[in-house]
């Protein structure tokens, strides 16, 4: 099942929409600095906030697509999520899983590779956006509410691994 993308440009507001959702182009500097900001405010829960903000803003994109295109099977939904991840420029993933656990491998990651390009390798995982995306993807695939899945990076491109590995567990 291939992801269908419909891009429109509103001539009045000059806003871009993909499948009805307002989207915007930004760069790895913005993303890397946002990830770093979350780390700089870790004492206030910055990384968690970034993950949850990602989960909550990606979920409507997936839900509306599944409803409009009548995508019901969890495996198909995970596959559409995988394709959306790439379509947004976030990298290339492989995904497998069930309603209780799963695994995501990122062969390429915008967040990690952008960070490395900007500052070099890091000593801990920083792909909170990727984790939030995967949490949204699994929750949407299995019709679960937000925060139903805990996503943990067990290997990270930013730390020098050839691929990032995200372990998914039912929360």
């Amino acid at each position: 099942m291939n992801l269908e993308l419909s891009h429109t440009f509103d001539e009045a507001s000059f806003r871009h929409f993909v499948n009805g959702h307002n989207v915007v182009l930004h760069c790895h500097h913005y993303m890397s600095l946002t990830a770093k900001l979350s780390e700089d405010f870790a004492d206030l829960g910055g990384p968690r906030v970034l993950r949850e903000a990602t989960e909550d803003s990606i979920r409507p994109v997936l839900d509306s697509y599944f409803a409009e295109h009548k995508v019901a099977a969890p495996a198909d939904r995970l596959d559409i999520g995988r394709q959306y991840f790439s379509a947004m420029g976030l990298g290339r993933m492989e995904v497998s899983g069930s309603a209780t656990e799963g695994q995501v491998t990122l062969r390429h990651s915008h967040v990690d590779e952008g960070w490395v390009q900007k500052w070099g390798a890091h000593d801990k995982p920083i792909n909170h956006v990727g984790c939030g995306f995967v949490a949204a993807m699994f929750a949407a695939a299995f019709d679960r509410p937000a925060r139903s899945f805990q996503v943990t990076e067990s290997a990270s491109i930013v730390m020098g691994a050839p691929a990032s590995v995200l372990a998914v567990r039912q929360a």
Partner: protein
């Protein structure tokens, strides 16, 4: 002839932005992403929400800085790109002022804000007006166009500060009006630090 924003926007939105086989979008000397505006607004609002009163200013400064560095590096990539050279530069007749007008046309084309330069005093001061910008959708309180502020200061530096990459921290931007607080448009004043 000077830079005609709407003409530039219409030319640039035709450029197809698609991820490569690795799910990445290299372009303009950076890696580009195309995320929902709701993502960036939610992130900014929640970061501001977790900051206690004595750290709100630090958080706001950090949010502006994210966009500022993005604007400086990506802005340079944009103005030196083949697209900018072919679409904008033929309209440039007023030097740095027109390059800035062109940069804000790109700013508009990328979906950051429907914006334009309303006043420039060479190398000293610039006023930007944005009649629509996605940050005005967010649900916080007060003026909160952190991204527009950061990128606007960066673009001014690309035009008037020391040549890239040595011109940072020369200008700052304050937001004086905002759609998010009921004004008819956003207004941003860039001045030398």
């Amino acid at each position: 002839m000077t830079v005609m924003r709407d003409q530039v926007v219409k030319s640039l939105v035709q450029i197809d932005v698609k991820a490569n086989e690795d799910g990445l979008m290299p372009g303009f000397n950076v890696l580009v992403n195309q995320l929902p505006t709701a993502f960036w607004n939610t992130v900014a609002e929640r970061f501001m929400a977790i900051a206690p009163p004595d750290r709100k200013a630090d958080m706001e400064k950090a949010l502006v800085n994210c966009a500022y560095e993005c604007g400086y590096h990506t802005g340079y990539g944009i103005v030196s790109s083949s697209e900018f050279q072919s679409v904008v530069m033929p309209m440039v007749t007023e030097g740095a002022k027109d390059v800035l007008r062109g940069a804000f046309a790109v700013f508009t084309a990328w979906g950051w804000a429907k914006s334009g330069v309303v006043q420039i005093r060479d190398g000293e001061r610039m006023v930007i007006r944005a009649v629509d910008y996605y940050e005005s959708d967010s649900g916080g309180s007060g003026l909160r166009a952190y991204m527009v502020r950061g990128v606007s200061a960066a673009f001014m530096e690309l035009a008037y500060a020391a040549p890239y990459p040595n011109g940072m921290n020369t200008f700052s931007c304050e937001q004086t009006l905002g759609r998010e607080v009921g004004d008819p448009h956003g207004e941003f004043v860039i001045t030398k630090k």
